[in-house]
Structures are given as C-alpha cells and as structure tokens.
C-alpha cells in the first residue's frame, strides 16, 4: 500500500507539474489544482492509522482524525488559491487579451528590453493605458483575422 | 436473507447503471443518449438506496430516503437542462427516421445510426 500511495501521489504531482509547464494559463491553474490534490492525498496517506470514520462512539480502530482535519484545511486553502488564480487569469486576459504564456512572455520581454534601454526604474507608465481600451483594440484585431 | 436481498438489489442496480452507461456510449445522438443515461442510472441509484434500507437501520434509512428523493428531484432537471441546451444549440438528431416537430429542422439525413 505504501508504494501504491507513493506512486499515486507522485503521478498526480507529475500530471500537475506537466500542466504547469504549459503555455495556457488556464492549464496552469489546472496544474496547480492537481498538485494541490497530490499534496492533499499525501496528507491523507500520511495518517498514522487507517480505520473507520473517527466519529464516536467507536467500536473499531478509527482512522487518524488529525490528518483529516489537516486535509480539510488544505483542501479549502488550495480551493481558495485556485479560485484566486482563475480570477487572476481572467484579469491577465483582460489586460493582454490572451491567456497564452508565449504572448504574455513576449510582453514581459518587451518590457524588460524597454527598461534596459530606458534605464528608468519603476516607471511603467508606458503601459498605463486602461484595460478596457486595450481590450477593444484587441477585439477589433480579432475580427479582422 | 436480508443480506441476499440486498445483494440482489445491488446486482440489479449495478446492472441498470451499466445499461445506462452502455446507452450513453451507444446511442447515436445527444437526445437519445439522454434517455439512456440519466434515468437508467438514477433508477439504479434509487433502487440501490432504497434497497439499502433493507439491511440498514435508523440514520441510514433516513438518508437513503433523502438520497432517493433528491436524485428523483434533480435528475430530471439535469436531463431537461442538457436536452434544452442541445435543442437551443441545434444539436442534430442522428437517428434515421427521427421525428422533429419542433420546427428547427434538427434532422440529419446522414445514416449513421446502426445498432
């Protein structure tokens, strides 16, 4: 069982990691969720005892309740982070009109080049146009494609 | 005895569920799949839940009843919602000789249905 659990957790982790290496931001979030799932499963598996549901009265040996409490908290937290990640993806989409990392990285690259040449520290006013306008421009762009 | 009864019910409901899944797999279009799926499966669940009351007592019975009730209430809703979505999206009917009185011309002439 030990090795099966380990393999399963590792597999979940690997699938999550695989998705986190993708270009698509939404897949990245999915990868985060999967990695979180792997961690949660590991917490569950790291219970010091297996057994029946730990609700009194108990006639048999109960499962480790502590890991269950931990995994509950961890599930909730990874859920919250996942939700936040999704909202962030949306906002990245609004501001870049893309959820593709390669495009977003290109924007980042451009920025750092600008900085290298301009040499001014915190000024990102160059990119200060409002999201809405940006999006409208981009929409027109899409229509013509 | 009760246990055997329960086993029988278990086998029955699993069989019904299996049929439902097979139906989803094999039916030609979304409408017919919907027929196959949800109901067969939900019947399986209801049978199972109710049969579980045979060997269970107290708390379990209440909840088994509750499960059945909720499944009965919600399953038609999902079929309706999915079916309606299919209709609104003009999903094709892929069964030869399909009847369509909706006026949206969902019939497809291509003979793809073979059982």
């Amino acid at each position: 069982m030990t090795i099966l659990f380990s393999l399963a957790i590792a597999f979940l982790f690997a699938t999550g990691a695989y998705l986190m290496l993708k270009r698509d931001l939404i897949r990245l979030i999915a990868g985060m969720v999967l990695i979180g799932n792997a961690a949660n499963l590991f917490i569950m598996a790291s219970g010091l005892r297996r057994g029946v549901t730990p609700i009194l009265p108990l006639d048999q040996r109960a499962a480790d309740p502590l890991v269950q409490a931990m995994v509950l908290t961890a599930i909730v937290i990874s859920f919250a982070v996942g939700a936040l990640g999704l909202a962030l993806v949306y906002r990245v989409y609004v501001s870049h009109y893309s959820v593709d990392l390669s495009r977003i990285s290109a924007a980042e690259e451009q920025q750092s080049e600008q900085e290298e040449s301009a040499g001014s520290g915190f000024d990102d006013e160059a990119e200060d146009d409002t999201d809405g306008e940006r999006q409208r421009d981009a929409e027109d762009e899409v229509v013509t494609v | 005895m009760k246990a055997y009864l329960y086993d029988a019910a278990l086998i029955l409901s699993v069989a019904v569920m299996t049929l439902g899944v097979i139906g989803i797999w094999r039916m030609p279009d979304i409408y017919t799949k919907l027929h196959a799926a949800s109901k067969a499966v939900f019947l399986g669940v209801v049978v199972l839940a109710l049969s579980s009351t045979v060997i269970a007592e107290g708390a379990m019975v209440y909840r088994a009843v509750l499960v059945s009730a909720i499944v009965v209430i919600t399953t038609p809703l999902s079929s309706h919602v999915i079916g309606r979505a299919a209709y609104l999206m003009q999903e094709r009917m892929e069964t030869p000789g399909a009847v369509d009185e909706s006026g949206s011309n969902l019939k497809d002439e291509r003979p793809t249905w073979r059982l």
């Binding site: 909202a87 027109d140 229509v143 | 309706h80 609104l88 999206m89």
Partner: protein, 177 residues
C-alpha cells in the same frame, strides 16, 4: 430563434430552483449543526447553502442574485462571519484565558436542543459557515456582474462603431467545434 425566449421558457428549472431553495439551506444548516457529532461542518454547510442560492441565479439570471438580500449581501456575510469567529476566538482574552477557550469548560454539562449544542465551537462554526457562504456566493456573483459589464461594454462599443455586425468575440452562441 429558440434562444430569444431563453429565460422565459426555463419555467421548469425555475420552479425547481424555488422548490430547492429552502431545502438546500435546511440541509446546509443541518449539516452544520449536526457537524459536531456527525459528518459535516460549517464549511460544507456554507458551500451547500451557497450552491442553493446560486441555483436561483442559474435559473433566473444574474439580476435575481441582486434581488435577494441574502444573496446580494452575502459577501458582507463573509466578514460578519469572520468577526463572529474572531470574536469567539478572542473573547476569552478578556478574562485572561487562552484564545478559543471552549465554553462551557471541558467536560462540564452542556445545554443542547436536539442536535444543536450551545457551545462556543458551534458559534465558531457559524462564523465559518457565513464566511464560506459569503465567499462562494460573492465570488460567483462577482463573475456574474463582470459578465453583465462585458455585455454593457460590448453594447457600448458596438454603438460607438455604429451598430455594425457583431464581432466574433461578442457572439454569445457559437457552433461547437
């Protein structure tokens, strides 16, 4: 075009949504109150209640979420709930006790009414319930508002362009791939 009467024709879903509204909250509260002695806790209760509330939005449209106060002000509930939980946790400090002190004290007799126990953890769990309920409803509601905003923006953009053909991006319904 069948889409035209989309909302109006969703009568069956709407009826079901109304019918399930109170029961889903009842189930949620049951899950919460019994949680101390049985499966369930404030967290799952909050999500169940939130889903019951959101079902109204799914059936009646986003405006409905604004119409029902319990849903509209849910996100305030998050902070109310947080305050309840914090208050429960920190109140014992006033008497010099450690935070989150169990009341009535461990092992003492406790008043209970059915599954409802009058102990601080249950109050705490009510806070959790409110937080979670508020979060789930608030987050989805925020999505709904954003959606309305997008529709408004597109409408405005289309007007600005002179009511030409809609862009690909704004076309709500598309042929499946």
């Amino acid at each position: 075009m069948p889409m035209a009467n989309y909302r109006r024709n969703a009568g069956m879903l709407q009826s079901a949504a109304r019918i399930l509204l109170v029961p889903s909250f009842v189930i949620a509260l049951a899950v919460m109150f019994k949680g101390y002695g049985d499966v369930g806790d404030g967290f799952s209760a909050g999500v169940i209640a939130a889903l019951g509330a959101l079902l109204q939005g799914l059936a009646f449209g986003a405006e409905e979420l604004d119409r029902i106060p319990v849903i509209r002000y849910a996100s305030i509930g998050t902070f109310v709930g947080l305050t309840i939980a914090l208050g429960t946790a920190f109140f014992p400090l006033l008497t010099g006790d450690p935070i989150l002190l169990h009341w009535p004290r461990a092992g003492e007799d406790v008043v209970h009414f059915g599954v409802l126990e009058f102990i601080t953890p249950v109050l705490f769990d009510v806070g959790v319930f409110l937080v979670v309920y508020g979060f789930c409803v608030g987050a989805v509601h925020a999505i709904a508002r954003e959606q309305e905003r997008q529709v408004r923006d597109r409408e405005r953009a289309r007007k600005a362009r002179g009511a030409e053909r809609p862009t690909l991006a704004e076309e709500p319904l598309e042929v499946a791939e």
